[in-house]
Amino acid sequence: MKKKTLTACAVVCTVSVLGGVCFERTKKQSISTANLLANVEALTETEEEFETRRSECYSNMEYNWNMASICVESGFEHVTCTVSGKISVFGVELSGSYVKDHIYTIPWARYQCEESNGNCCTKQGLYTGDTKLA
């Protein structure tokens, strides 16, 4: 009887450990498969969609086709409002509901156009939101 109990215990142990390991692996695989599928999906684009994007990019004189807007640096600038309704960020005046003597934290990002096939560079320079600072 003892022998049988021990054998049963051993079987249960093995099955449990194997089950645990398999579960972990399947979980990981399913995540990476999902990610891969997401990437494949992202890369599939019809010729028509591609043409639309290209012509849209060409239609704007400030955009550059076959280039991508790459963010090379970003951060927050702390500026004090010295005149009500206005603040100056990197030397550029912004208007808004700014209160005198208050400190404002303004997000900024610097973009650069870099060669990249099939992409459109829409931003180049220093921006806060969609406002170009420099």
Binding site: T5, V12, V17, N35, A38, N39, I70, C120
Partner: protein, 398 residues
């Protein structure tokens, strides 16, 4: 007898499952660092700084920098990556030494510098160029050693690169931009096998621009590769043997700050610093933007707004304002940190910024002798701060 046997089996099974779960949990248990939720201190207030040195980078026709993208130590020297796709070598006194390689289509030339990596031996540097698909290695005096050509797709949206410590294959851990639907933020690049393995993705998207998850998202220190993830309050590390990214430590953000759920992150289709700013306004934790490590400290930058300094010796942290609002005589501020080594953080300050700080400080004549940072700043000759000059390096020794 049969019943007790059955009960034993059931209990044993449950116990083993619990044991397996506990094992998984315990292997991922990470220290929790407190201190973030306290009101941030004035930048550098009470920081025990041993030395501050400000070194202007030589400005000449060959060494004039437009905008610094990244810096790195290269043996006894420093490498500065310029936005104009140049990699320049300076010594630690700021003298310009030589450019590393040059732009072009010839052998050993690059079209663009996505990233560079100083290899473990500290005697060679490798440039990664997505446009030409080239990976070019130079020696300690900037002479070409090797040029390898890979499919440019393997280097697509590559941002920063770090060699895997003690790796015979010479693989690299890479961070990438989030660009529209392209979401591979960390990958393992094997040049020998011409292979790039995805390690970590993000469900976020951008609207046309390529956005960074951080200025300096990977840090190599003491044979350990640490990294950050967007909107996360943890510091992660890459385990080369397991090819896995796991949490290293978690910063407790306190009850007032909310963490974004995976569901919320997956709904983001316009990721950028502007969006981070919106989340911050709603009391969400924006994540860390850069990570630097020394013997005793881990510096976690939060886009220049705040930084969280962790003392590795006692696993405690202090949050500081990332800017200089109020000039305090006892403060040794850490500003614009871009690099770290054994016992120093290295910052970079443009001349106009130093001039502004000096003017602010001039108004507080009584306190001039008190802070190492201000002392070093005031000692700089005016000629170093002329408009158009290269930025200055600031070595903060803690």
């Amino acid at each position: 007898m049969k019943k007790s046997f059955f009960n034993t089996i059931v209990c044993l099974t449950l116990f083993l499952f619990a044991l397996t779960a506990c094992h998984t949990q315990s292997s991922r248990k990470t220290p929790v660092i407190r201190g973030y939720s306290d009101e941030p201190l004035i930048n550098g207030l009470g920081l025990d700084m041993k030395d501050v040195r400000i070194i202007p980078l030589e400005t000449s026709k060959e060494s004039a920098l437009s905008h610094v993208v990244d810096i790195g130590f290269f043996g006894d020297n420093l490498l500065v990556q310029d936005a104009g796709h140049r990699l320049l070598c300076f010594d630690r006194q700021g003298h310009f030494l030589f450019p590393v390689g040059m732009r072009g289509r010839g052998n050993g030339e690059y079209l663009r510098i996505n990233a560079f990596a100083v290899n473990e031996s500290d005697t060679t540097v490798t440039i990664f160029d997505e446009t030409s698909g080239r990976i070019i290695t130079y020696d300690a005096i900037g002479e070409l050693l090797e040029s390898v050509r890979l499919d440019g797709k393997l280097l697509y949206m590559l941002q920063r690169v770090a060699p895997i410590p003690n790796d015979e294959r010479g693989d690299y851990l890479c961070s990438g931009y989030v660009h529209k639907d392209y979401n591979r933020i960390y990958s393992l690049l094997s040049i020998k096998n011409s292979f790039c393995q995805e390690l970590q993705t993000t469900p976020m998207k951008t609207r046309g621009t390529a956005e960074i998850i951080g200025i300096h998202p990977i840090n190599q220190y003491g044979g350990r590769l640490s990294l950050i993830l967007p909107f996360s309050n943890s510091v992660f590390e890459y385990l080369p043997e397991e090819k896995k990214i796991v949490p290293r430590m978690t910063v407790s953000v306190g009850p007032k700050t909310k963490l974004l759920s995976q569901k919320q992150i997956s709904r983001i289709d316009n990721y950028s610093i502007m969006l981070k700013s919106e989340f911050m306004a709603q009391n969400y934790f924006p994540g860390f933007s850069s990570l630097y490590e020394t013997n005793d400290y881990i510096y976690l930058d939060m886009d220049g707004r705040l930084y969280f300094l962790i003392d590795k010796n006692n696993n405690t942290g202090v949050a500081y304002e990332g800017y200089i609002g109020e000039i305090h005589p006892d403060a040794n501020p850490l500003i614009s940190v871009k690099l770290s080594d054994g016992n120093s953080f290295v910052g970079m300050l443009e001349p106009w910024r130093i001039k502004t700080l000096r003017n602010q400080f001039d108004a507080m004549i009584d306190c001039k002798e008190l802070s190492l940072f201000y002392k070093a700043m005031m000692a700089l000759p005016d000629s170093c701060l002329e408009d158009g000059n290269n930025p200055c390096l600031v070595f903060y020794q803690l």
